[in-house]
């Protein structure tokens, strides 16, 4: 073991390397640097878990001292028989002279002999517990001038040696890996800060003075008016030019000096930024890939699920078929487990992306800080402006990152490794991470659904599910009931039927109202009813037939329109209806029904003579059937109604003439 020939405590404490624990030594760096470089050079041979396993650093700040009874008695050998006898016969009065000491447990120890196994052994204070060790550690820290804060980042060790019949101890204090990096980081920051305060400030002063000079030169013609001699004028101008030239030179020199002194800090950072960007890009790609696989699997599971349900519903499978369904269900479970795996990878990559983005922000902020050294406020503002112009929209989190940068500067070391998962890395996530991912996924899913589907439809659907207040429902029911009454609702005898019609109608009108997004008022409800009738209710719904029978009726409160008086209007209405008219082959019964219904609608019942009513009906039916039979083109219900109307008019005209 090399003690560098220093035996006195005082000498050690005053040596340049050891006078203060906080100071950094080149030999200390070399020790770690060698190990780090070795690791770095052979990184490809290591797995990531092996890379950061703790490395113990030895031999940094050290003191050689005599063994002390208070702290080192465990290194003393037990007193031999003769020593004990000597001690006995002198009644212990010459214990010190005999080199003996009484241990706490009463045992007599010999300070002139070292206990077996103690020589060369290393005692690490980190592993020791108890007040005695704590007290000794504090004492050593004081000797080395190590603050309480620093002591957590340092390791103290003790080694015993037996020299010239005496037990000696070598106490060493070295930095932990974390402490080492932190010290190096501080040193770097300190150096940059010094550069900023000294050369940077000088450069700023030079630039400002240059700026002032150029401002003053603008007023030169005014000043020159007071100088009469041309020679004097020339001399002044020459002097000013010379001053400007010199300042420019000084500025260039300073800029070069700052650039050179910052190079050692800037270049590694630039390299790291480049690598960080590459890693960020690659992580994004992996994330995309995991997401795409997850989505694709989910889609396939949905499809398979539908197929399984279909097969189960059909209930056609027994024996082998049932076995297949069972296998498919197992396959589905496997796919679901795989989806979970992709989700976990996504979360893992997402967490890594977050770290790498923060790293990037830190590096960019540090580089920007260095870039601004020696720049005037004006220059910084101008650069900031042009930067903002180049980036139309700064992301809000950019600013946050920069604010955090100061605090995070010294946390990059251990935290990042652990956050990244480089110590005992596995793919399991923290609870927080998983929950955050679940939230992200849910939000993502929602966004995608809206994107994929029709946003308007989604909104309408959302609105259709709107809950109406009790008051609104009562208002809807009231208006609906009034309208139903005008359509012969009271004629329905069954209360059950009445209840059903109201319920069904209110529900239908509610839907129309919801889609219209109008507030619930009497007018909006009436509009909704008109819209409901216009679109023809919900004829697909068999349950609605009862209600629709009423809604399709003409309101009794509406005046009966005479075909003669309002033929144009009715034709228009019919034309609108004809848009929905379907071409088909009508049976004789269907033709008779359409004609009879139409004649009733047109007020045939107002003719009191039943015989004439029948005659007209028969006549119209015969003529319509003839028209249908003779027609070469396909016939619709509208055509039948039009023909009925035409014949009816003709017949009315005939009867009128007869009556006259």
């Amino acid at each position: 073991m090399n003690f560098e020939g220093k035996s006195k405590k005082q000498e050690q404490a005053n040596s340049p390397e050891n006078k203060e624990g906080k100071e950094f030594s080149i030999s200390e760096i070399d020790d770690v640097l060698k190990q780090k470089t070795d690791i770095f050079d052979s990184l490809d041979k290591y797995t990531k878990d092996e890379i950061f396993k703790n490395i113990g650093f030895r031999g940094v700040v050290e003191i050689k001292d005599k063994a002390e009874d208070n702290y080192d008695s465990y290194a003393y050998e037990k007193a031999g028989l003769w020593k004990k006898f000597d001690n006995f016969i002198t009644f212990g009065l010459f214990k010190e002279f005999l080199g003996l000491v009484r241990a706490k447990d009463g045992e007599l120890l010999d300070k002139t002999a070292i206990r077996d196994g103690m020589e060369g052994g290393v005692w690490n204070f980190v592993d020791r517990e108890g007040d005695a060790y704590k007290h000794e550690e504090q004492k050593i820290s004081k000797q080395f001038n190590i603050t309480e804060e620093d002591s957590a980042k340092r390791i103290i060790t003790k080694t015993y040696e037996f020299v010239d019949g005496k037990i000696e101890k070598l106490i060493k204090s070295s930095r932990t890996e974390e402490g080492m990096m932190e010290a190096a980081g501080k040193l770097r920051e300190e150096q940059i800060s010094q550069c900023e305060k000294k050369d940077g400030a000088d450069l700023v002063a030079l630039k400002e003075s240059m700026e002032k000079n150029s401002e003053s030169r603008k007023n030169l013609p005014e000043v020159m008016k007071f100088v009469k001699s041309d020679g004097e004028k020339e001399r002044i101008i020459e002097k000013l030019d010379e001053e400007e030239r010199q300042t420019k030179e000084k500025i260039e020199e300073k800029e070069y000096k700052i650039d050179e002194s910052l190079k050692i800090f800037r270049e590694p950072l630039e390299g790291r930024l480049e690598e960080t960007l590459k890693i960020e890009g690659d992580l994004s790609e992996v994330y995309k890939s995991a997401k795409s696989s997850e989505d694709s699997l989910n889609n396939q599971i949905r499809e398979h699920d539908a197929m399984i349900k279909k097969a189960q519903k059909l209930n056609l499978l027994g024996g082998v078929g049932g076995e297949i369904v069972k296998n498919i269900e197992e396959g589905k479970a496997l796919l679901e487990a795989q989806v979970k795996e992709f989700t976990e990878r996504k979360a893992l990559v997402s967490a890594k992306l977050e770290i790498i983005k923060n790293n990037k922000k830190e590096i960019e902020a540090t580089l920007a800080g260095m870039k601004n050294i020696g720049k005037t406020k004006k220059e910084i503002l101008e650069e900031e402006k042009s930067r903002k112009k180049a980036e139309p929209k700064a992301k809000p989190d950019d600013a946050e990152g920069k604010e955090d940068e100061g605090e995070k500067k010294n946390t990059w070391n251990k935290d990042r490794k652990e956050a990244w998962g480089l110590k005992g890395a596995n793919y399991s996530l923290g609870k927080g991470g998983q929950e955050a991912d679940k939230e992200d996924d849910a939000a993502e899913k929602e966004t995608e659904e809206v994107k994929a589907g029709d946003r308007a439809d989604a909104e309408v659907e959302k609105f259709a599910k709107k809950k109406f207040s009790k008051k609104e429902l009562e208002e809807i029911k009231k208006v609906v009931l009034t309208r139903l009454k005008s359509r012969g609702f009271e004629n329905i005898k069954s209360d059950k039927e009445k209840e059903f019609i109201i319920k069904k109608s209110v529900n239908d009108i509610k839907e129309v109202l919801a889609k219209s997004k109008k507030p619930v008022t009497e007018t909006s409800i009436k509009d909704a009813i008109s819209e409901y009738i216009r679109i023809g209710g919900d004829n697909r719904d068999k349950d609605n037939v009862l209600a629709w029978k009423l809604w399709s009726k003409k309101s009794e409160s509406e005046p009966v329109i005479d075909p003669k008086e309002d033929g144009g209007e009715r034709e228009k209405e019919e034309d609108e209806e004809s848009e929905n008219g379907a071409e088909k082959t009508f049976t004789e019964k269907e033709i008779e029904d359409i004609v009879t219904t139409y004649l009733k609608k047109e007020g045939l019942s107002r003719i009191k003579d039943k015989k004439i009513q029948d005659q007209i009906t028969k006549n119209v039916i015969t003529n319509v059937k003839k028209m249908v039979a003779e027609s070469e083109e396909p016939i619709t219900e509208i055509d039948i109604r039009k023909e009925t109307k035409r014949i009816l008019h003709a017949l009315f005209a005939g009867y009128s003439q007869k009556n006259k």
Partner: protein
Amino acid sequence: MIKSMTMTKDTIKADLQKLLQDMNKTSEDAEKSLQKIDRKIAEIDLRYAKMLAKEEVDLLKVARQILEQKR
């Protein structure tokens, strides 16, 4: 009628068997994709570890240079 029922049953069975095959294929592909992603993550982890180690080496070198200048 019975013939039609048998046909439906056979068709569904065939469909389900096809589905099972598809599922197996999907699962295999997913496994490959997972392995690929894991490989990429491990590769990125190594690069990141290397970057951090380089960063520490750089930092120590810088500290060494500063101390040498101060001497």
